[in-house]
């Protein structure tokens, strides 16, 4: 990838995956296999119990997922991403780590979006602490995964506990990374 591509990725349109791709077939196969295993080893009653369980949870989850996907979509369209990248690149210290943590948390999508942004941030001059904080915040307190997966599936009590236990951690590892005596050297990228 060239430098220009990265700039483009940073401001790119929201990425939507195909509905039916290989991964979905694998998940479908996995759930069918585990269903067969339950039927076989635990009996039809256990199978029926599991199906009812899953259906009840589905009814509970679907209105939440409906709202979550809309929030994810609008946040993605309304965020001033280029401004955030500039703020992170312009500062060399703790402030950039704090901004990077917030930026990571509001970065939607999977590694397809977050890793190109890390490279773009590196190219725009961000320090290693900010890069580590950004990636960790995206992974630990990324709003999209929380909204779309964690909150519906794990429930509010668990989600609130986990997020409160985690929101300081990207700052901690960012600060440590900033002071580690290793020089960062991202392959095939020159500043």
């Amino acid at each position: 990838m060239k430098k220009k591509d990265k700039k483009k990725t940073l401001l790119a349109e929201p990425i939507t995956r195909k509905i039916f791709d290989g991964s979905l077939y694998i998940f479908a196969a996995l759930s069918i296999l585990s269903g067969l295993a339950v039927w076989n080893f635990k009996g039809p009653q256990a199978f029926e119990r599991a199906i009812i369980d899953a259906y009840e949870l589905f009814k509970f989850v679907i209105p939440r997922v409906g709202a979550a996907v809309l929030i994810a979509a609008f946040l993605q369209l309304l965020l001033p991403r280029d401004l955030i990248a500039k703020l992170i690149g312009d500062d060399a210290g703790i402030k950039s780590i704090l901004i990077a943590t917030v930026a990571g948390a509001i970065t939607p999508g999977g590694p397809v979006t977050s890793f190109p942004i890390v490279i773009a941030l590196y190219l725009s001059g961000a320090n290693k602490g900010a890069l580590v904080a950004y990636l960790s915040a995206w992974a630990m307190i990324g709003f999209q995964r929380i909204l779309v997966w964690e909150l519906p599936l794990m429930g509010e009590e668990f989600t609130i506990t986990r997020v409160s236990a985690s929101f300081l951690l990207p700052i901690i590892c960012g600060v440590i990374a900033l002071y580690l005596p290793i020089k960062i050297n991202i392959p095939n990228q020159s500043k």
Binding site: P63, I119, A139, L153, L169, K183
Partner: protein, 169 residues
């Protein structure tokens, strides 16, 4: 877990949707339509995966060795359980579609919240497939070592924080 079926969070989420719709409408351009289109795309993408995830989670709850797991990782397993859970998180080389159903199944069979927090945190920051497929090739060995050195203790720390939050609130 869902016994009280509390609708507060669902209502809050929809209030947030209305706020975002208003913000998008204020821009007086295509943002409202575009947002709804993108959101609908997500929804279509999510729903079949969600069905698989929920089924897998319910089946996994039936299949997982209940006694062993709740002995090792139950709410009473304490700090030792948090450490075991932190390592167990390394064993999931897959995305949220697998990790969260598994976490839900573990929750159902009695794994403690601090242990589960540690487990998910490891998966979130050290998911092995992500390091191999993305981080090493794109960001390089040095970046990966900086990240491991600065973050390896975070999963147990998250577990301990979660235990403190639970016992004081």
């Amino acid at each position: 877990m869902y016994a009280d079926n509390n609708p507060t969070v669902a209502i809050l989420l929809w209030v947030a949707v209305i706020c975002f719709l208003w913000l998008a409408w204020r821009k007086r351009d295509d943002t409202v339509n575009k947002g709804i289109r993108v959101g609908w795309g997500y929804f279509l993408m999510m729903t079949p995966r969600l069905c698989c995830a929920l089924a897998m989670s319910a089946f996994a709850a039936e299949l997982l060795p209940r006694e062993i797991i709740s002995n090792w990782l139950g709410a009473s397993s304490g700090f030792q359980g948090i450490i075991i859970a932190s390592f167990a998180g390394l064993l999931i080389p897959a995305g949220g579609v697998v990790a969260f159903p598994l976490a839900l199944a573990m929750y159902k069979i009695g794994v403690g919240i601090p242990q589960l927090v540690a487990f998910l945190t490891t998966w979130e920051i050290f998911a092995i497939h992500r390091i191999l497929a993305w981080e090493l090739p794109f960001l390089g060995k040095r970046f990966v070592s900086i990240r491991i050195l600065s973050s390896f203790f975070l999963p147990p720390l998250a577990g301990v924080f979660a235990a403190l939050i639970i016992s004081y609130i």
